[in-house]
Amino acid sequence: MTIFGKKVHIIFSLFLWALVWEVVGHTGWFDIFPPLTEIFKAGLEIVPTDKFHNAMSITLHAYFVGMGLAVLIGIPLGSLMGYSKVVDQLVGTWVNIFVSAPLTAIVPVLMVLFGIGQTTVIASVFMFAIWVIVLDTRAGVKSVNPSLPEMAFSFGANGWTVFTRIYLLAALPEVLAGIRMGLIRAVKGVVIGQLLVAIMGIGELFELYSRNFLFEEFWALLLMVFAFAFATAEAVGYVERRVEFYASAR
């Protein structure tokens, strides 16, 4: 962003909007927008409570288990799709349906399958995160310079070695991009899963706060969730930038 021909740092623009929010909040025009400072105060109040800790631990558990499964299954599946035309044709359509489908509608189905509990939330995280990982990994494997596997074969490598030593490493930038997008979608997955299951984790807190018109607490929690999604994605983004030279050398 530039203002008066000067580059403006993103932090500055965030600060500007925070200021607008604060002012609007103090006018008291909208109940739903309390001043930002009040939201921070509420945040500081809820963070030390047991209720918050329990909600967080159960949420993070679902998030990381679901995300871990999405990575563990998504990368091999995406690689296979990039590697083999048959697999690609076999599952490609389904993956493309799922990546663009309104997955929220699937959560009730998951509830029927897995019951009202943590398993459903994990499944929901998984469903939200996996497809973009699959598609990005597939694209990465497909874009590997064909000379590289040929080179490895010429030195006597077998198919498995070529797969692990060439394809996976060459596709790493795309795989990481997929994981980064997956992490963001997984946040959606965990919140939506818990909201629909409605009796656990931060989903339960969201329910509680909004039902009782506790907008300060509600916003505090929401901002924490945003910050978490942003921070995890940035962490992967950092790793991505460190391997950026892959792309320039291709």
Binding site: F155, L169, A249
Partner: protein, 276 residues
């Protein structure tokens, strides 16, 4: 092969690679090669030269064992080729370096795949990195090197596995002319020490005549052997003088005359198509 032939197998004129009745038809119907017969002598540099798309790369990859021929077979010292083997190593036109690995790890990659210990790998890789003139760049990444330097890495990797036969597919095609000439001379110097059989693909007549002991001219697609030239240059003189030798100039002219004929045939064929 009889006993006597075994004993003299390192004499210069011994056939190391025989290409016997090779044809290659790609899926989709392109007939790239048809009826290619060829004997390649050990310890010499043989060049495949021919018009674009005539199947030079295809033939080289069949010899490498990277592609299966549709008909015929390639034998190395009488043994039928069924896949890549430690007796051959390949230098790729686009270098085929792993961008995530340092120069030394790239050079050692062939050794790594053959199961050599880390010490042995690094020792050999270091030696060949120095031999191709890249001492000091062991820990650089490919993207930090120029095109010419990258190809030196590719060459060091091929040398490090100590194969008898080195297959090079237009190794200098993507480097500039000065680098190319320097590289050609360095390659010749290196081969004088290393005593390898080299099969070399190029588009450039001058390059072919300059580096080769033997030039195999392939006809247009479907490629077959049209002509074989042996160049007989006195390499004891400076590179510029080599390029002024009568033998050099005559060979260039002779090959150009043949390639020009292909070109004219192509043009008249195209003209016929337009008219007809």
């Amino acid at each position: 092969m009889n006993q006597v032939a075994e004993k003299v197998s390192n004499s210069a004129d011994d056939t190391i690679v025989s290409v016997d009745g090779i044809a290659k038809r790609y899926e989709g119907g392109v007939q790239a090669l048809k009826g290619v017969n060829l004997d390649i002598p050990a310890g010499q540099l043989t060049t495949f030269l021919g018009p674009s798309g005539c199947g030079k790369t295809t033939l080289l990859k069949i010899i490498a064992g990277l592609l299966d021929p549709t008909e015929g077979e390639v034998r190395i010292r009488g043994q039928k080729v069924t896949g890549p083997g430690p007796d051959r190593s390949f230098v790729f036109q686009d270098f085929a370096l792993m961008p995530w690995a340092t120069v030394i790890r790239n050079v050692a990659f062939g050794l790594e795949l053959s199961g050599a210990s880390k010490e042995e790998r690094y020792e050999k890789a270091t030696k060949y990195i120095a031999e191709v003139g890249l001492k000091g760049f062991e820990d650089a990444y490919p993207h930090e090197l120029s095109g010419g330097m990258r190809q030196r890495v590719g060459l060091a990797r091929a040398l490090a596995v100590n194969a008898d036969i080195i297959l090079m597919d237009e190794p200098f095609a993507s480097v500039d002319e000065q680098t190319r000439r320097k590289f050609q001379d360095d390659l010749l110097d290196l081969l004088a020490i290393e005593k390898k059989t080299v099969i070399f693909v190029t588009h450039s007549i001058e390059e072919a005549v300059y580096v080769s002991d033997q030039i195999v001219l392939l006809s247009r697609r479907p490629g077959k052997v049209a002509n074989i030239f042996t160049t007989d240059l006195d390499r004891s003189v400076s590179p510029d003088e080599v390029r002024r030798q009568k033998n050099y100039l005559d060979s260039v002219d002779e090959i150009w005359a043949i390639l020009r004929e292909y070109l004219q045939e192509d043009e008249s064929a195209a003209a016929r198509k337009v008219r007809g």
